[in-house]
Symmetry: C2
Subunit: 165 residues, 2 copies
Amino acid sequence: MSRVRVDSGHMNETPQWLSPAEQQAWRAFVRMHQKVTARLSRELQAHSKLSGADYEILVALTDTPDGRQRFQDLASTVDWEQTRLSHHIARMIKRGLVAREQCAEDGRAAFVVLTPVGRKAIEAAAPQHVATVRRLVIDALSPDELAMLAQISNRLLEQLDNVSP
Amino acid sequence: MSRVRVDSGHMNETPQWLSPAEQQAWRAFVRMHQKVTARLSRELQAHSKLSGADYEILVALTDTPDGRQRFQDLASTVDWEQTRLSHHIARMIKRGLVAREQCAEDGRAAFVVLTPVGRKAIEAAAPQHVATVRRLVIDALSPDELAMLAQISNRLLEQLDNVSP
DNA sequence: ACACATCAATTGATGTGTCATGTACTGTAT
DNA sequence: ATACAGTACATGACACATCAATTGATGTGT
């Protein structure tokens, strides 16, 4: 294991390093997620010419009545930084998947709108992608395990919100 | 929810879409991991000027007797594509964290070696980083939950190896 | 000895994410 | 009206990842 280790800490401090069990759990988790997302985005790309990021954006837009959302709102629903969204939308516009529209009331604001091409793309990609998620993840877990995964995920999300900055 | 949905499928087919519980679990998981890694790499960068990628490489190298590993072996221990490693090592060399060395026996091969600067960097960064992992993840979960997370992760890793391509 | 496949690693092009900064518009206080 | 802080988004520079193609070394068959 890591030779970076310096000192094991003493009895009544918070241990500086992870216990073997903790480390095993943490490494398995990291490794697992890396592989799952890598695989997922490769399959998505192969079947649909969409990246995971594209997919997220398109799903967010189709979840809205007329496939249109204000830049800001879109950023918050997909939980991206503004600047990332700006760059990504610029690229998606070049590929014809979405379009930018001005806002009448507020001169600063902008809308992102799904184009017919974009709608076709997401409608074509979604079933494949969901099937892959099911095949790689859902099917591998029992209902109990899946519920546990959800519980753990939610607990960690809470923790992130609660722990200082 | 998604308006991309087309058809709910019938009784004895594999359902095309995810059930609400499945979807909830899946989305929580994705969201959780995005946030955890984002947070982790931001804190790492802030405290140590190392990226998550740098950290991985440096840990892998310190895990080796003399801080030296063949390019290929390094790629497999961190589980990266060759080309990614090549680019990344090139950048790390520029920053003086590692160095490239020739291999006497095989003219094609190369070694990556930890420099004193690199060793200092990882030794300085590791305790901070481990503490962050503990604070954000380990502390939020009960021992049972942590064990469960490990079990689920391992089950999914198996699944990835078993499912076609 | 020579042609040829294979291997280890690199390179260049392109798409993507992040940071710091810029620009245009809005709303408010004076 | 005018100044000015704040908002909504864009841009440029750079770090990073992936793909396709390349270089140079090694091995193999003839």
